[in-house]
């Protein structure tokens, strides 16, 4: 089992909300139309039906139709389209959906 970093463990110990734990992935989904992902590390794969993002230790996969990048910068990416699923890709297996 993967061990949490010192920063995460310290934040848990001090009851600091998960939102402000530095560097953690933050995903917001607005209906079926938009996904906002914070603290990503870049795009791994980009197509109309699938966007795969590097999120450090995890890999996030967004599946859908007519997916497009609305805006992107170093930390944040906003995707739109008809969202079908957002999930983490496990090593050696298919993705676990949110």
């Amino acid at each position: 089992m993967q061990k949490d970093s010192f920063r995460v463990r310290a934040a848990d110990l001090l009851d600091i909300p998960a939102d402000i734990k530095g560097g953690l992935l933050h995903i917001e989904i607005t209906g079926k139309r938009e996904v906002f992902i914070e603290n990503h590390k870049g795009i791994l794969e980009l197509s109309e039906n699938e966007v795969t993002l590097n999120a450090g230790k995890e890999t996030v996969r967004v599946l859908g139709q007519r997916l497009r990048v609305l805006a992107m910068n170093n930390n944040e990416i906003r995707l739109s389209g008809i969202i079908e699923s957002v999930g983490f890709v496990r090593e050696g297996s298919s993705c676990s959906q949110l």
Binding site: G42, I43, L44, E45, L46, S47, E48, R68, V69, L70, A71, M72, N73, N74, I77
Partner: protein
């Protein structure tokens, strides 16, 4: 809102061709080059939009990602304005226009006066001019408070004045001072004396001693109610007499009217003369100012030039229409003349507010030249005015 900001900042639509476009986008993000509105045609060609500032930084990133980037469309205000960069005359024309507009709106071109119907508008304009507010005054130089105070001092008949300068438009509102009627203080002893001749119709004395009775003939200056009151013990005191007295009053008025008169008959010949009024200057738009008509009416119609139909500019067009006429002799019948005379005489009666005309007799006559009418009007109206009793006699 964001699209408006993007329009002002300017943006470029880029086409990105690469076998591995994700690398290009990741490099852009890492270098702080933001982009938006990404579309994909499905054949590995992406279109993205970014600011002009970011586009200037994209060359090393594209080289590193081994992709081809070219501009599809330039959008926004900077590109729109860039078109006019070489058109110096247009730019300088705009600048001159702005400067002229700024200069012209800094001066007062129109002065509107409101609420001054009872008094002389020309006098107020003259007074405003003396205090430094006239057509062509530099608006910021007008000291409002001083101007208003000085005008109120110089024109005591004014109770209120306000001056608002809105752009090139000065709006002046003035109110006439309404002086209260002169009332004798109630503690002063006084008599009530008749102010006209007549026969007393009714009299009600509230305080004082009545000196006349109903049906008595009174003349102007006669005491109607005295301020002297004699008590039971025989002592006489003075008081402030107060009474409601009405009297029958007769007025006689005469008038005459010529039975033959001259009448204007328009010949149908007209001539229009146009003049432009620019501030106080008149620019004639005609060469020969002499009018050949021997007799004519001059009807002047002035049209103010307004901006957007609202803001009056200091330019007006004046049209003077000269209509030629001839004098012809006409005559009226006696009945028409009497009718006209009687209406005129009735309206010329100077009756007080509460007066009621109970009888009006007309005596009419005529000769070859004139029609005559005499009106004798009988009215019931309040009479009496207060006169102070002087203690030393």
């Amino acid at each position: 809102m964001q699209s408006a900001v993007n329009f002002v900042r300017g943006s470029v639509l880029l086409e990105v061709k690469s076998s591995y476009p994700e690398r290009f986008f990741n490099l852009c993000a890492r270098h702080g080059i933001e982009f938006w509105d990404m579309t994909n045609d499905g054949l590995g060609v992406f279109r993205i939009r970014m600011t002009v500032k970011n586009f200037k930084r994209i060359r090393p990133v594209a080289r590193k990602a081994m992709c081809r980037v070219h501009i599809v469309k330039r959008c926004g205000l900077p590109f729109f304005l860039n078109r006019f960069r070489k058109r110096a005359a247009l730019i300088s024309g705009c600048a001159v226009f702005c400067i002229i507009a700024w200069i012209f709106t800094s001066f007062v071109w129109v002065i509107d006066i409101d609420g001054y119907a009872e008094l002389d508008t020309a006098r107020l304009l003259n007074e405003l001019s003396k205090q430094g507010l006239r057509v062509g005054t530099y608006a910021p130089s007008v000291e409002m408070e001083n101007l208003k105070n000085n005008i109120l001092i110089d024109m005591p008949e004014l109770s209120y004045i306000s001056v608002n300068i809105n752009g090139s438009h000065a709006h002046v509102t003035a109110r006439k001072r309404t002086l209260p009627p002169e009332i004798l203080p109630s503690e002063l002893p006084c008599d009530i004396i008749s102010d006209k001749d007549g026969i007393i119709h009714d009299i009600t004395v509230k305080s004082g001693t009545p000196e006349v009775v109903r049906g008595e003939t009174v003349t102007r200056g006669q005491i109607l109610a005295s301020g002297y009151v004699t008590g039971r013990a025989g002592t006489t005191i003075t008081t402030h007499a107060d009474a409601e007295i009405r009297a029958r009053v007769w007025r006689k008025k005469s008038a005459r009217m010529p039975k033959k008169y001259s009448e204007k008959v328009y010949t149908g010949r007209e001539k229009d003369l146009y003049t432009i009024l620019l501030f106080d200057n008149r620019i004639k738009l005609y060469i020969n100012s002499g009018i050949s008509y021997t007799k004519c009416d001059k009807i002047i119609k002035r049209t103010d030039l307004r901006l957007f139909g609202r803001y009056r500019l200091p330019i007006s067009l004046e049209r003077a229409t000269c209509r030629e006429y001839e004098i012809s002799k006409a005559s009226v019948s006696d009945e028409t003349a009497y009718d006209s005379l009687s209406k005129g005489l009735m309206s010329s009666l100077e009756l007080p507010e509460d007066a009621e005309v109970i009888n009006a007799d007309f005596i009419t006559s005529s000769d070859e030249v004139f029609a005559y009418a005499t009106l004798t009007a009988e009215s019931i109206e309040p009479i009496g005015t207060k006169r102070e009793i002087l203690r030393n006699g």
